[in-house]
């Protein structure tokens, strides 16, 4: 349904041209959920905004690649045709529900407006549809809630309203850009559950962008791991979470704090900063921070290579080399960990 081929996105800034998305390819099929994970600045939001062409206009350049949605290349469409696709075919939910609603209108009228923009309907029909949508997203007493202003709703409620607005045009693809980041954990779970429910009802594909691996693992079928504008690993949820042989993904998974860990255990982080995308490092972009890095990584810029069916990763390490390296790192880490632990208990 959506196929992105070899997409490059550059942003022209005062400091120079930023290679925000670099040679990215993936596909999403109807009813599927694709998760995109990565650190801040890894290009995941720019990628999502590229799909509906909402990056700041003159500054963003698409030098290469195609975004094929239902047979049309979105990069070649004019603004008017794009507007028809936005909302009707592709909708988006944003990170911050607090600021995503127009503060001066009642949520009912905002919802009705979204419905009328996308479908030919009388005001009365639109109102009935709006109430139905609010019920679909689990808002109790929707008729009364229509009369509320955004500030009268809690964050979770507002996110539900935003999902309802996104659903107003019966989209085939929903892009959710960090939809749960601004919400607390219990609400997060509810919103994810809601996304899953409406996905089934409306038979949509979902692209879920998050830096939260937990969120991705709960809802995604396939996962893209992004680093410095590139896809570094692409596979099913199980491939990524249990069978990764990619040092970046592995470091990312390891940096999750565990509820069942030791109280004084040191949290593991990835040393260093994401690379400067105006002048990226030579060789592999991740090598300055990679605990596995060898001299070869300085020279070779790895391409995505096939690992198993539907699973590919961009790293020159073989599976054996990765396993050996992992053992070595965990052993030294354990030693250091034991030392700190002794010190705190003593």
């Amino acid at each position: 349904m959506l196929e992105v081929k070899n997409l490059k996105v550059q942003i022209d800034t005062a400091e120079g041209i930023v290679q925000a998305v670099d040679r990215v390819s993936f596909r999403v099929e109807a009813g599927q959920t694709l998760g995109i994970v990565g650190e801040s600045g890894s290009g995941k939001s720019v990628l999502a905004h590229s799909i509906i062409q909402l990056n700041p206009k003159p500054a963003t350049i698409y030098p290469e690649g195609e975004i094929i949605f239902e047979g049309k290349n979105l990069l070649e469409l004019r603004e008017k045709a794009l507007r028809k696709i936005r909302g009707n075919e592709i909708a988006m939910v944003f990170q911050d529900p607090m600021s995503s609603l127009n503060p001066v209108f009642k949520i009912g009228s905002q919802l009705i407006e979204a419905i009328i923009t996308n479908q030919k309907m009388s005001k009365k029909q639109a109102k009935a549809r709006a109430i139905e949508l609010l019920r679909d997203v689990g808002i109790p007493d929707p008729k009364r809630r229509m009369q509320d202003y955004p500030h009268q709703l809690s964050g979770g409620m507002r996110q539900r309203v935003l999902i309802a607005i996104a659903l107003a045009g019966n989209p085939k693809l929903l892009i959710a850009d960090e939809p749960t980041t601004a919400l607390d954990v219990t609400i997060q779970a509810q919103i994810l559950e809601l996304l899953r429910k409406v996905q089934k009802k409306y038979k949509m594909a979902i692209i879920l962008i998050s830096h939260d691996l937990g969120v991705i693992s709960q809802i995604a079928d396939n996962v893209l791991v992004m680093y410095s504008g590139r896809i570094v690993e692409d596979g099913s949820v199980n491939d990524i979470f249990y069978r990764t042989t990619m040092p970046y993904t592995w470091s990312l998974l390891r940096s999750l704090p565990r509820l069942d860990g030791q109280r004084h255990e040191r949290l593991i982080n990835i040393e260093g900063q994401p690379p400067n995308l105006i002048s990226p490092p030579k060789g592999c972009n991740f090598h300055p921070r990679c605990p596995f890095a060898t001299d070869k990584c300085l020279k070779i810029d790895p391409e995505l290579t096939y690992r198993s069916k539907g699973h590919s990763a961009a790293c020159i390490l073989s599976e054996q080399e990765f396993m050996d390296g992992k053992e070595r790192i965990e052993a030294t880490e354990k030693e250091r960990g034991a030392l700190t632990y002794d010190r705190t208990t003593a």
Binding site: P58, K84, R86, F94, S100, N102, F105, N118
Partner: protein, 284 residues
């Protein structure tokens, strides 16, 4: 806004002026344009509350009738300047390319003091009410454009604008439904201040003798005629002067009242201060 007595009084004064001047021909005992050479330059009395002028005309009546021109000019200028300024400000704030062109023009116009600009325009166009309205609107709208543009720039990056775009809303609808309603309060407040400034500017132009035709009674024209007699008939200049002061003061008070009422920060602050004072009083 009406909770404060001050604001209520200001609105009351303005309404009183407006009603008095509209209905003047029905209730004024003497026609304000009646010339009576035997009653020249008389001081305030029971017959002539504000005295008479050098033609023996009743100054009270003249002051009331003159409000008509002042209020009409002020209001029309405020409306035109606000409309022009809002449209150009919205465009300049929203479209980057248009911004450059519009703002350079505006900067050029702001380089002149607005009264000087109006003076030059009236000198070219000729002094009558229509030209004064044109000239004053033209010299007051740049300020409005700047204010609207800066408000738009604050709203534009907010997520609800982007969210609206993702639902397929077109630019004109975004500007009218999402941007404009959220910046309405500075526009209204500034519009009120332009109203006050325009009344003052019209009086100044008339006083300088290039404003409204001398045959029409305006506060500025009255002051211009009165200046020669200021030592022998001070009431001739004092009363129209007071009328200007009261009107402008009332409008400024309304403007400030609106600003306080429409700006959530100031209302919040004022309310908090009140609460704090109450607490101290209760404790004592």
């Amino acid at each position: 806004m009406f909770k404060k007595k001050r604001n209520l009084i200001a609105v009351g004064i303005l309404l009183l002026f407006a009603i008095a001047t509209i209905s003047a021909s029905w209730w004024l005992p003497v026609s304000p344009s009646l010339i009576d050479a035997s009653r020249r330059l008389l001081g305030p009395s029971v017959d002539h509350w504000f005295g008479t002028d050098h033609f023996g005309r009743d100054i009270f009546g003249q002051t009331i009738v003159a409000a008509r021109v002042s209020l009409v000019v002020g209001f029309t200028v405020a409306v035109i300047a606000t409309l022009l300024g809002t449209i150009t400000g919205l465009i300049a704030g929203y479209y980057k390319k248009a911004d450059f062109i519009i703002m350079r023009v505006i900067d050029g116009m702001l380089a002149f003091p607005s009264l000087l600009l109006a003076l030059a325009l009236v000198a070219v166009l000729g002094g009558n009410i229509t030209n004064i309205i044109v000239a004053l609107s033209f010299s007051f709208w740049p300020v409005m454009t700047r204010i609207v543009r800066s408000a738009v720039l604050q709203i534009k990056p907010l997520q609800y604008i982007e969210a609206a775009k993702t639902t397929g809303v077109s630019d004109p609808v975004i500007l009218s439904h999402y941007v404009l309603p959220n910046i309405l309060s500075p526009i209204i407040v500034q519009g009120t201040f332009i109203f006050a400034k325009a009344i003052l500017a019209e009086a100044a132009l008339s006083f300088l003798g290039i404003g409204v035709e001398p045959s029409i009674a305006t506060w500025g024209n009255m002051l211009q005629e009165a200046q020669i007699y200021i030592s022998i008939a001070p009431w001739f200049s004092i009363f129209p002067g007071i009328a200007i002061i009261i009107t402008v003061l009332a409008l400024n008070m309304i403007g400030e009242g609106l600003r306080d009422a429409l700006d959530p920060h100031t209302t919040g602050k004022a309310a908090k201060e009140k609460q704090a004072v109450k607490k101290i009083v209760n404790a004592a």
